[in-house]
């Protein structure tokens, strides 16, 4: 294994650990969004607060986006990103292979 490969593996393991540990340590926590925690804070400071504008999609649907659909759209977002990165990375890796092949 090259030094880079090792560094990358260690780094990825560290990232996964940082993300996973809270889940196991804080068993009672809800893990809600901190964006929502922000709106709770606004209410605490301001008293009752009614947002003066509802998200376009929510008003079109006449309610909140169903949780499952929301996670679908989040996945689509991740998918688009991961796809683009993987596509170009794949090309780069393959190109390097070809270049080194030509040399010999």
């Amino acid at each position: 294994m090259s030094r880079n490969t090792k560094t990358v593996l260690i780094l990825i393991a560290a990232a996964v650990l940082i993300a996973a540990v809270p889940l196991f340590v804080l068993k009672d926590a809800e893990f809600g969004g901190s964006d929502d925690a922000g709106s709770v804070m606004v209410e605490e400071i301001q008293g009752e607060y009614t947002p003066w504008f509802t998200p376009v999609l929510e008003s079109a649907l006449g309610g909140e986006i169903p949780g499952e659909v929301e996670s679908l759209i989040f996945c689509v977002q991740t998918g688009i990103g991961a796809g683009v990165i993987a596509f170009f990375m794949g090309r780069f890796v393959e190109r390097k292979k070809w270049e080194s092949d030509e040399r010999y």
Binding site: V8, P22, L26, A29, F31, G33, G38, P51, Q77
Partner: protein, 253 residues
């Protein structure tokens, strides 16, 4: 930059400065409808010059060398991935990262503005995450302020001759944290607390965002370094075009 573009840039900068001077009345993703209309407009105007500068800089980069398109696309895709991952944090709530550090290091802070706003619009329209009315404020914190800090830190580390991976990590880490600091301030300006004013409010909002964001900022730093290592090993020619490898790398060789 053509003459017309320069004029446009200057005009919007002046316009934004006006708003910044006028008693700064006025927030990562601030929820739709949670900022008073005046603040929404003001933050939008403040972002405008950065976005125009970003558009011009991106266009010039592509014109100069069509190959940079691939890395621009990858930086944008990185923001897409990173900002869609909601990660549990030590405080028992979830938050997500910004991913703007990579683009800021490779292409400068203004170019990332454009990539960031694409993601923000995607999330605001399709996910009801963030919002169209708060788009200006969110763009300022995530796509302008954060990248500016990332870029600054990276350049500073370069001056100090710090290890490149360490500087990439620090840049992404600080950029992410700073984004949330700006959000806290933006919310605080709009909702000063009755007893302590803006500052007391800012501390409160920071209290919500900062501890949650800290471990996530570390993860963002790590992931950015991983991708940079990957690019270093396989995308040398592209990195040379952006000027990322020039300078220090050459000295090292």
């Amino acid at each position: 930059m053509t003459k017309k573009e320069k004029i446009l840039l200057k005009a919007s900068a002046a316009f934004a400065a006006l708003f910044a001077v006028a008693p700064a009345a006025n927030a990562m993703h601030i929820m739709e409808g949670y900022l008073p209309a005046g603040y929404c407009v003001a933050w939008g105007l403040v972002c405008l010059p950065f976005l125009i500068a970003g558009f011009i800089s991106l266009r010039n980069k592509v014109k100069e060398n069509r190959r940079s398109m691939t890395l621009i696309a990858m930086s944008g895709a990185f923001i897409f991935v990173i900002s869609s991952l909601k990660i549990p944090s030590a405080t028992g709530s979830c938050s997500h990262m910004t991913g703007t550090g990579l683009g800021a290091i490779l292409f400068g802070p203004s170019a990332v503005g454009i990539l960031g706003i694409i993601v923000l619009i995607f999330q605001a329209v399709l996910l009801a995450h963030g919002g169209l009315t708060t788009l200006g404020a969110n763009t300022f914190s995530m796509a302008v302020a954060g990248p500016l800090v990332s870029f600054g830190i990276y350049k500073l580390c370069g001056k100090l001759k710090a290890n490149r991976r360490v500087s990439v990590f620090l840049a992404a880490f600080m950029g992410d944290l700073f984004t949330y600091c700006v959000t806290s301030l933006q919310l605080a300006l709009a909702y000063p607390s009755e007893s302590g004013g803006v500052m007391a409010s800012a501390v409160k909002f920071l209290g919500v965002f900062a501890p949650t964001q800290l471990p996530l900022a570390v993860i963002e730093g790590i992931l950015t370094v991983v991708l940079v290592i990957g690019l270093e090993s396989y995308a040398g020619p592209e990195l040379n075009n952006t000027g990322f490898l020039s300078g220090r790398e050459k000295e090292a060789r």
